[in-house]
Symmetry: C2
Subunit: 267 residues, 2 copies
């Protein structure tokens, strides 16, 4: 009976993974349509893209609920080996980040709809390279998910700053233009909001990469923990844990070297 | 031995709940400081508030990690009664939404720092009432968490539209002013971004309310499922489930009346 139970659990885990990959592909497809739409505002051929993004949203929302329900059904079955438990917890988190990328694709598509009604709108020069950087981050984070690949995930963590720099440069350029030309105010606001959506998509790609590192390696790398992790370094878990404690101590001198943060933080 | 195990689990669950409440109070305190700061830009007494928000952020980040680790430690112990399992899963989600409200408080504080360097900045008339509406939503959602109160959670779900309307009206007013007065462009951009941060705080308060309904009632009310749930209605779960299926069918005609969405959605 115990063997049958494990077999059953193994099938349910495979199903969870398949659901996640299917959700990831749908979200990526919605996001790519939104990115194509924002960088080709003048192209009549891309006029249908925002509508396609809107149509994908309810499907993504339903997928999110099904994945959550499936993960909870798995947890109900009882105790799991450590790596399988981490997969289930990571699935709950990945699911959430994927759904939010889907939401942000909708937000981007809304910006496109507004901008297409402003014929004089001049696209910021750096918007296309920013969109490419975001597209690459999402593609790598989903590749890391499909191939359980920590190196790909680590590459994503390193790209986040580039996207923030694009956001700041586009903001400054739009601010200058809007101050000089009243006609640039309306499209400028839409472009500034669009760069915020792009930045947040990149943030969620970063979260996905962090969740994959947690799942595969058992390490929590959020909030700058393990800032020094690089793909070429095969960090043994013991060293990594030492780094975590060091990092925590930098911002919280009261954290004990043994990592007993609970008592210190919750006072 | 089994009794000792249950006692131990019960203590660990109480600890999880205490951690969450402590995190919620810290996040609310950061957010209230950020809201006070944005509605009192001209007041020299509130100049220190953004710095206080920045100081709380690393503490909130550490709390998030400790709560996640504690929830995973609990899941490792094995099988739980249904309501306790739902609490642990809800804790993982609540934790995430709380941390993001903390991030958004930091974003708001950044807007305040920029705006305080623009002495002519004229605050949008509706910003203070919008901030009050957001403050009330967060306060109610955290009240719902502390008192496990579904009625309070349902009130939060009903307030989200009001915040979106404030956002749209402030956007229109700022757009008009920025088009007429070049000096209004720089502060106007900051105010538009600030309303987006406020809107997203309200979204996370809504998520928190939905998670509490899931935890206490076992119902998933995300994405407009159970649109008709009202505090005065004591919805028995069977009726609620019927509504879920109806709602799903509205957007997905292929979903079977028995609610077997898995096969239909993941194709």
């Amino acid at each position: 009976m115990a063997t049958t139970g494990r077999l059953n659990e193994s099938i349910l885990l495979d199903t969870l993974m398949n659901y996640l990959v299917s959700m990831a592909r749908t979200v990526e497809s919605a996001m790519n349509r939104a990115l194509d739409a924002i960088v080709s505002l003048d192209n009549p051929r891309s006029a249908a893209l925002p509508g396609e993004v809107f149509l994908l949203e309810p499907r993504i929302n339903e997928m999110e609920i099904v994945i959550d329900e499936h993960a909870i059904r798995l947890l109900r079955q009882g105790s799991f080996p450590e790596d399988e438990l981490r997969l289930i917890v990571a699935a709950l988190k990945l699911n959430n980040d994927l759904e939010r990328i889907g939401d942000l694709a909708v937000n981007l598509a809304e910006r496109v709809v507004s901008l297409r009604e402003m014929p004089g709108a001049q696209m910021p020069e750096e918007l296309a390279p920013m969109a490419s950087a975001v597209r690459a981050m999402v593609s790598q984070s989903l590749g890391a998910l499909i191939f359980r690949n920590v190196e790909m995930a680590t590459t994503v963590l390193e790209s986040d700053d580039v996207v923030d720099q694009y956001r700041d440069r586009i903001f400054e350029a739009q601010l200058r233009r809007m101050t000089k030309e009243p006609d640039a105010v309306s499209p400028g606001l839409q472009f500034v909001l669009a760069t915020r959506h792009l930045e947040r998509i990149a943030d969620h790609a970063t979260n996905i990469a962090e969740d994959i590192i947690f799942w595969v390696r058992g390490l929590d790398v959020r909030h700058g923990r393990l800032g020094g992790l690089r793909p070429e370094q095969a960090v043994p878990i013991t060293t990594a844990e030492a780094n975590i404690t060091q990092n925590s101590q930098a911002s919280h001198p009261n954290v004990t070297p043994a990592g007993n943060t609970d008592i210190v933080i919750f006072t």
